[in-house]
């Protein structure tokens, strides 16, 4: 009897968990991360600028071996993926879950297309014997060796960021489909979008500096 009355006492108590949310803090966290990423790539851009300053002709010659059409295509692919990303966030803000998911799928698709394109570019280069420390590359003038070293490292690191972005966006897609992201809680999607736009911005600078050297 004592046990039962104790149980009755327990039933009147309710534990209320308040959802702890700090949307501004989450967004600030992502921006600080973006700041660190900009410094990471910025450092490499500075390295590039010094080597290009010291080897202008070699950089020009090496750059002509890159395919401008594929490079431009990749630029267009990433710019469009940024559009679909921004639209996806707008859609969920308006409560259109299916549209948001569709646009997110499109973004992921463009990301994969970008990586496919990059893979084609890299493999044609490797087939011609141009890769870091290859015997053919080491025969070339010093400036050209530096150019291709920078090319592989910078586009490689960027490609890695694209891959991570694709994984993150896929996780966001699963959240969206399971309603963990919805009209009143979409900060994870927004922050993932910020990361994706950063990846786009980095490529916006990589493209002219590697492909369009006159």
């Amino acid at each position: 009897m004592i046990l039962r009355s104790l149980e009755e006492m327990d039933e009147t108590k309710e534990l209320v968990f308040e959802e702890v949310r700090d949307d501004t803090g989450a967004k600030l966290g992502m921006w600080l991360f973006i700041l660190s990423e900009l410094i990471l790539f910025g450092g490499m851009f500075i390295l590039y600028s010094v080597y290009r300053y010291k080897n202008p002709i070699d950089f020009h010659h090496a750059s002509r071996e890159l395919d401008v059409i594929l490079g431009t295509l990749n630029t267009l692919i990433l710019l469009t993926s940024s559009l679909t990303m921004a639209l996806s966030i707008s859609a969920i803000q308006k409560g259109s879950r299916k549209l948001s998911a569709g646009l997110l799928v499109a973004t992921i698709f463009f990301g994969l297309l970008f990586l496919l394109n990059k893979g084609i570019e890299w493999s044609t280069k490797v087939d011609h014997g141009i890769y870091p420390n290859s015997p053919i590359l080491l025969e070339r003038p010093k400036g050209e060796i530096l150019f291709f070293g920078l090319y592989y490292v910078m586009t490689g690191l960027h490609g890695l960021h694209v891959l991570v972005g694709i994984v993150v966006l896929s996780v966001m897609l699963s959240f969206l489909l399971r309603d963990k992201i919805h009209q009143t809680h979409f900060v994870p999607l927004e922050n993932s979008g910020l990361y994706w736009h950063l990846v786009d911005i980095i490529w916006i600078f990589l493209f002219p500096l590697f492909y369009l050297i006159t």
């Binding site: 700041l35 940024s82 559009l83 910020l194 916006i204 600078f205």
Partner: protein, 92 residues
């Protein structure tokens, strides 16, 4: 939150700028293409930052200051680096 059309027009602007930068690179303009290319890249980034990344509609000052802060840091890096590299081999 922006409406769909605004995002679309920003995208159109970005595509046009991309076409411009590729065309300019093919023209024999001496040293100008790199300057123009960097200016266009800066403009494109500005569009992505302000519209796609919503910096333009951010209320809090802290968000608006982060990118200019990074730019300032880079400016210092570049100036100091080239102040060194440009004068190796002596000042003429």
């Amino acid at each position: 939150m922006m409406n769909y059309r605004s995002y679309f027009w920003v995208w159109v602007g970005l595509i046009i700028l991309t076409g411009t930068t590729v065309s300019v690179a093919g023209m024999p303009l001496g040293h100008w293409p790199i300057v123009i290319a960097l200016a266009i890249a800066g403009t494109k980034s500005g569009l992505v930052l302000n519209y796609f990344m919503h910096l333009r509609s951010e209320r809090m000052f802290i968000f608006k200051i982060i990118i200019p802060l990074v730019m300032a840091v880079f400016l210092v890096f570049i100036i100091l680096t080239f102040a060194d590299v440009a004068f190796r081999g002596g000042v003429r």
